[in-house]
């Protein structure tokens, strides 16, 4: 186990290094930088732009910029945003927390819905309600995220007024509300965007669960359990379900990086201030320190999630421990 962890750690460091270097180069390939002239109104003078480029080290050779960034990152300094002068680590910390709340809620809901629906479909393939729900889930999965998001806003927010159209909280409640009110407000803002995430992810999980459980149902050990007189519920929960969870866990593992990287489309449509929104804006504005910092965080999250999934699968399937 220690060997495994050490190997994964070294692998993660390599992944992060490659990702940051690639990101560093790619973001600088297209013309322009964060200070490229605003062509819709008179802005800074050329001398002013040159001063700011020098201040942020943007006029140094790329190799020098890269080396300076790497040294700073190793020391824990992810730099300062070129656009608004804020520390990148603080920006990422806030955005990361917001993404974890949204994507975490969506993923949790997706896991519950997906495993329940997929399990029902796999266990009872001819059960009509299960098939109907599964079909509906697949339809939402096939729909473009943006369309689904706007549709949910239209029904649950605009037409009915049940939930807010977007944002993460109501500013007035944040200022004047009690802790309970602020939590309730956050919950109200969380419902529609996390539902948008859950519907898409839930379909993928349900599909995987259905297939995995259907395979397990026909195995000899399940037939043996029934032959021994175990109840149907007991056969499902104690014999069939656990082996089927390995592949479902792997599917969920593929979704884990989104917890950190943010679901960009959903965050933008719902004005959720997470990593997706931050990264999209930073790339558009060529805010290179923010982009590089976000790549480090996301690459680390991908590596960590890969390790978590591997450990989880090993825990579920004893055969893999040998």
């Amino acid at each position: 186990m220690i060997t495994l962890l050490l190997r994964r750690l070294l692998h993660a460091v390599a992944v992060i290094a490659v990702a940051v270097t690639l990101g560093f180069a790619l973001i600088r390939l297209p013309p322009g930088d964060a200070l490229s002239g605003d062509t819709t109104q008179v802005g800074r003078s050329a001398a002013s732009r040159d001063l700011l480029r020098a201040r942020y080290g943007m006029d140094a050779p790329i190799s020098a910029q890269w080396l300076g960034y790497v040294i700073g990152a190793v020391r824990g300094d992810l730099g300062t945003s070129v656009v608004d002068g804020r520390p990148v680590s603080a920006m990422l910390g806030t955005a990361l927390g917001n993404s974890l709340v949204l994507s975490g809620t969506g993923l949790l809901a997706a896991i519950v819905v997906g495993t329940l629906v997929g399990g029902a479909q796999g266990w009872r393939p001819r059960w009509l309600p299960g098939r109907a729900i599964g079909t509906a889930l697949t339809a939402t999965y096939a729909m473009p995220e943006f369309v689904l998001a706007i549709g949910l806003i239209g029904i649950l927010s605009y037409a009915t007024g049940w939930f807010p159209v977007g944002g993460m909280h109501d500013p007035i409640t944040t200022l004047t509300g009690s802790a309970r009110e602020r939590l309730a407000d956050l919950g109200a803002h969380l419902v529609v965007p996390s539902l948008a995430l859950a519907l898409g992810w839930g379909a993928a999980i349900a599909r995987q669960q259905r297939v995995a459980l259907a395979e397990t149902v026909g195995t000899d050990f399940v037939r043996s359990a029934r032959a021994k007189g175990v109840s149907e519920g007991g056969v499902l929960l104690h014999h069939a379900l656990r082996p089927s969870l390995s592949s479902v866990t792997a599917t969920i593992g593929l979704m884990l990086p989104v917890l950190v990287g943010g679901a960009v489309v959903i965050e933008v449509v719902f004005a959720w201030p997470g990593m997706g929104t931050l990264l999209l804006r930073a790339v558009g504005q060529r805010d290179t320190p923010v982009v590089s910092g976000a790549i480090i965080v996301i690459a680390a999250a991908v590596s960590a999630s890969t390790l978590l999934v591997e450990l989880a699968v090993r825990a579920l399937d004893p055969r893999l421990r040998r």
Binding site: P30, P31, G32, D33, A34, S36, G37, D38, T39, T40, Q41, V42, G43, R44, S45, A46, S48, R49, L51, L52, D84, G85, R86, P87, M91, T94, S157, Y158, G161, P164, V165, G166, G167, D170, P171, I172, T173, T174, L175, G177, S178, R180, E181, L183, A184, D185, G187, A188, V191, G233, L237, V268, V269, A271, P273, T277, R281, G284, Q285, R286
Partner: protein
């Protein structure tokens, strides 16, 4: 048994979710007060709240409410003299006999939001901050020609100019937001953006800073004890919503009170809504197809330096049809590098009218009489073909580009469209690496600022003159107009300058977007200026919200 336990857990989760969704009430069951809060749905967050650093409209909206200026511009805005201004931070002012200085008497009642009195030192300090090269303010150029600001006594600040010109007062009163020296004086000028003040600004305006969750929302609260009186709305809240559809829905559903620009289907829905109305407030924006006169195009050195060619290309465009198709009634055909909101505009000016027959004759006469198999005009074997840059962020300009492409094709001109993301677009313009570009410019109430985009003073191109347009008659008329105190003479000179640039076909002047805000009926706006719809926001009336 396990199923029963599972069902109980699910029931508890659903109950909690329902409580959370239906929550938001006080412990005693009452709803938190939202009395007269004005909520604005905005597409982007403010970039900064320190006035010299502000570069976005959203930032400007907030700082204009947080900070005072020496005088307030009236509606409609007049830029020459001081007749168009009313006292704000300065209770009164006195011109020197030679009109090279103005002494501003600070209102003794004025206080910073931390209670400290506002003093003349703050005016001097603010001016120094704006023009300090270390601060690198994008607004430093607005103070060219101002020599210095001195302090006569604790309540009298004197502004000194190097030379007289009609817009002296506008220059200082419109551009200089007054900041507290006692809070900013000790901050390193190269670290303003990361200072504590940047996160919690302190001004003297009728609104004070309350909360800023970056990229989420910005809240200003009424300064109820303000020396100029409490504002109408108890709070102003900007909520950031990058997606235009979601932003419009938030206003239409009543969750936000206004959005400053509504277009397309959202405009139609707002017009048909019983709770929301549209309010037009003028525009200082104009869009144009700019030619790079220095560029070698179609193997022709400085192709677009030929005025006759530019005129022929302009004649081949039916601008009315383009605007109608791309914008319907939400735009007007542009008259030149100015808008109808400009006080100096003359809508009867001579234009280069659409005339495809004349365009064809002119292009033939210029030697572009051959045709290749695609029908594109040729001259000495070279096709009349050029590339136009279009920013991918503007759906309108993308549509317009396609319409122009079609219209040019009818006269045998091949226009290729290169859609670029904004930073790349800006970079190419700055470096002059383009044949033509579909640009949009936000002009200034001051007619003199046209020099910054189209001027070539003393033979040197202005910083934003990306197309390298140069005409000394145009420069001379603008320069003369900028120093002439005779307003009638000034109008004549400006009109002549505008006519020169239009006759030169420096660009194909395409459209002025009409700005419509969608505003909830409970909000009564006043004095929405084209350059700043928020200028009198403190005087807007906001009624109690209707219960949903």
């Amino acid at each position: 048994m396990q199923i029963t336990i599972l069902l109980r857990v699910v029931a508890r989760v659903v109950t909690c979710a329902a409580l959370i969704a239906c929550g938001g009430t006080n412990a005693d069951g009452t709803v938190p007060s939202r009395r007269s809060v004005l909520t604005i749905s905005t597409p982007a967050d403010a970039d900064a709240l320190v006035p010299p650093l502000v570069g976005t409209t959203q930032g400007k909206q907030a700082v204009d409410l947080l900070f005072d200026f020496l005088a307030a511009a009236s509606t409609p805005l007049q830029t020459d003299g001081d007749a168009g201004f009313t006292p704000q931070l300065a209770a009164s002012w006195r011109w020197s006999t030679d009109s090279l200085s103005v002494a501003f008497s600070i209102d003794p009642r004025a206080r910073w939001h931390d209670g400290t009195p506002v003093r003349a030192n703050d005016v001097r300090f603010s001016f120094a901050l704006y023009i300090d090269p270390v601060v690198a303010s994008p607004h430093a150029g607005n103070f060219e020609g101002i020599d210095s600001v001195s302090v006569r006594d604790s309540l009298t600040a004197v502004v000194w100019w190097k030379a007289r010109h009609p817009e002296q007062f506008f220059q200082i009163a419109y551009n200089l937001a007054i900041m507290p020296e006692h809070l900013l004086g000790s901050v390193r000028r190269d670290s303003l953006a990361s200072s504590a003040f940047a996160d919690h600004p302190v001004g003297s305006g009728r609104y004070r800073f309350e909360q800023w969750n970056r990229t989420r929302d910005l809240v200003l609260a009424a300064d109820t004890a303000n020396y100029r009186g409490a504002p109408g709305a108890s709070r102003v809240v900007w909520i950031v919503s990058a997606d235009p559809t979601a932003a419009s829905l938030s206003v239409l559903s009543g969750q936000a009170d206004m959005i400053e620009s509504v277009r397309g289907d959202a405009f139609t829905q707002a017009r048909g809504s019983g709770s929301v109305r549209t309010v037009e407030y003028g525009s200082f924006d104009y869009a144009y197809l700019m030619f790079n006169t220095e560029r070698t195009v179609a193997a022709q050195r400085r192709l677009f330096n030929d005025r006759a060619l530019r005129v022929a290309l302009t004649q081949s465009i039916d601008r009315d049809a383009v605007v109608a198709s791309a914008l319907d009634s939400l735009g007007s055909v542009a008259l030149g590098p100015f808008t109808r909101a400009s006080a100096s505009v003359d809508t009867t000016m001579r234009q280069i009218e659409f005339d495809s027959a004349a365009a064809n004759r002119a292009l033939d006469a210029l030697g572009w009489s051959g045709r290749n198999p695609d029908g594109v005009r040729t001259k000495a074997g070279r096709a009349l073909e050029f590339e136009v840059l279009v920013p991918s962020s503007s759906a309108t300009r993308q549509r317009v580009a396609v319409l122009l492409q079609d219209q040019f094709k009818r006269v045998g001109v091949q226009m290729n469209i290169a859609s670029l993301e904004p930073q790349a677009f800006g970079s190419r313009l700055e470096k002059g690496v383009f044949d033509a570009a579909l640009n949009m410019w936000r002009t200034d109430p001051s007619p003199s600022t046209i020099r910054q985009v189209w001027g070539s003073p003393n033979g040197a191109l202005a910083a934003a003159n990306f197309g390298h347009y140069a005409n000394r008659h145009f420069d001379a008329d603008i320069d003369s107009a900028s120093v002439t105190f005779d307003s009638a003479r000034r109008r004549v000179l400006l009109r002549r300058a505008y006519q020169t640039i239009v006759d030169d076909a420096a660009a194909v002047w395409l459209y002025e977007p009409r700005n419509f805000a969608a505003i909830n009926n409970r909000v009564q706006p006043v004095r929405m200026r084209a350059d700043a719809w928020w200028a009198a926001l403190a005087d807007w009336r906001v009624s109690e919200p209707a219960s949903r």
